[in-house]
């Protein structure tokens, strides 16, 4: 009896709408993030993640409204990422009802931001997004940190970055393989395991899930504390309940409340 492995559906939100929509039979509006969140809450998701990929600053306010409305209906942990750059951004999101914020570009640009954020709000609500791509032609397995949704290389080694972020006060790491993202061929297990084994804080595996066995691999081989997926749930390929049953059968304890 200990902590259960978490399943975290992730909703990409742009200008207040879920990108590509969520394909649940009973949703009236497949593009409404709040409706999707409520559906996942009912379905037994262990946490929810909103990733705001809105390009322009002016449209960013929509995410605050979405978080606020979600928190009115969903009594479960909520992580919000994308465009979190200032202490004020974090404060606003937490006040709207987010429990954790995921920080990516701002942590790469100014690692001290993580110290300040963790001191202010506590390590437990600071998640650092480790968006990494495998370095070509390197002998040993190495990964490089990318920012701006995987478009910009930073030259920073992912493992060093992860350890640095832990030291500065991150409470959790969201490790996404930019090579695998959207491929449906499974997590980059070596990346996930390399980072998870090197840090004391929990790691969420992300990027590449195409079937339920991939989720099991993320935990058993990637040593992740939680697994994040988007499309396999959004398109109704598998339900959260199916995923939990499948993972539980492999011997991993899941919450079935």
């Amino acid at each position: 009896m200990t902590l259960k492995t978490r399943i975290i559906p992730c909703l990409d939100v742009m200008n207040g709408r879920v990108v590509k929509g969520v394909n649940f039979v009973d949703l009236v509006d497949a593009g409404d993030p709040v409706e999707a969140a409520i559906a996942y809450d009912k379905a037994g998701a262990d946490e929810l993640c909103f990733l705001d990929i809105t390009a322009t600053h002016e449209d960013r306010d929509t995410i605050f409204d979405i978080v606020e409305r979600t928190a009115e209906h969903c009594f479960m942990p909520l992580t919000v990422g994308g465009g979190v750059r200032t202490i004020e951004d974090i404060r606003k999101l937490l006040l709207c009802g987010a429990d954790k914020v995921a920080i990516n570009s701002a942590a790469v640009k100014d690692p001290n931001f993580i110290n300040r954020a963790a001191d202010k709000f506590g390590n437990q609500c600071i998640v650092v997004s480790v968006d990494a791509r495998k370095t070509e032609n390197s002998e040993k397995n190495k990964w490089e940190i990318y920012t701006h949704g995987g478009r910009k290389a930073s030259g920073i080694d992912a493992l060093e970055f992860a350890k640095n972020m832990q030291k500065r006060g991150a409470g959790e790491l969201l490790v996404t393989s930019m090579d695998r993202d959207g491929t449906k061929i499974g997590f980059d297990l070596e990346l996930t395991r390399t980072i998870s084994d090197a840090v004391k804080i929990p790691v969420i595996a992300s990027g590449g899930v195409g079937n339920l066995e991939h989720l099991v691999e993320g935990v058993k081989q990637g040593h992740a504390s939680a697994v994040l997926a988007a499309s396999i749930f959004h398109f109704g390929t598998f339900s959260i309940a199916q995923a939990k049953q499948y993972i539980e059968k492999s011997g991993i304890a899941m919450r079935q409340d």
Partner: protein
């Protein structure tokens, strides 16, 4: 006349979720209660029940709380003298201890004998913070745990913390969880109770617990 339940606002984290969850519990019970988030002494003074949330470091929360004018006297009067039911959540629960050892040694409210110390699981592979869903073991029977199945097949509570309260008197430990050893999940005595986990984020278990709190007559 509507009766007020007050969530003490001292600038700490996620008050909206606590308010919404308590409103949901109020609605389920069909009680004429208003859930107010406030830092006004006159509002806290009239509260029928008081909730102290808390997110962040122990010392920051203590300082934040005591930045409210006369809060020490108000709480002493309302909670300790008048016996108003009091619920501390997460760091709000930890503040009830004598001291907190997070980033130094800091004084607490001293309502529950004990200290807040780092979690040290006996399995080195276990991650810190203790973050996620865990079941509860009941150490004492308590009104707030009514209708909440505990043990291995029980309902789950959502935790996120690196420190926990080590109580001096076993009788103050209401519930615990297992994480490479015993973790304090819930403490209480008389009219005060505190949860290390977040009822406002614990879906089914959380709403039942909050309903129990709203009906609790210590």
């Amino acid at each position: 006349m509507t009766r007020n339940i007050v969530i003490i606002d001292y600038g700490s984290g996620n008050l909206r979720s606590a308010q919404k969850a308590l409103q949901k519990a109020t609605k389920n019970l069909d009680l004429p209660l208003e859930i107010i988030v406030s830092n006004q002494p006159e509002v806290i003074n009239k509260a029928e029940r008081i909730i102290l949330p808390g997110v962040g470091a122990f010392a920051d929360c203590y300082e934040g709380l005591f930045s409210i004018a006369n809060i020490g006297e108000i709480l002493e009067q309302r909670v300790k003298c008048d016996g108003v039911p009091f619920l501390g959540i997460c760091v709000g629960m930890q503040l009830m201890a004598d001291a907190g050892l997070e980033k130094g040694n800091h004084k607490g409210l001293g309502w529950i004998k004990g200290e807040v110390k780092p979690i040290k699981p006996n399995d080195k592979n276990l991650k810190i913070p203790h973050m996620g869903w865990n079941t509860l073991n009941s150490n004492q029977t308590h009104e707030l745990l009514k209708n909440i199945p505990s043990g291995k097949d029980g309902l789950h509570a959502y935790f996120v913390h690196s420190y926990h309260m080590e109580v001096e008197n076993e009788s103050d430990l209401i519930a615990s969880s297992d994480y490479g050893g015993q973790i304090t999940a819930m403490v209480g005595k008389d009219n005060i109770v505190g949860t290390q986990f977040h009822p406002e984020k614990s879906q089914k278990l959380g709403i039942i617990l909050l309903e129990n709190f709203l009906r609790w007559k210590p």
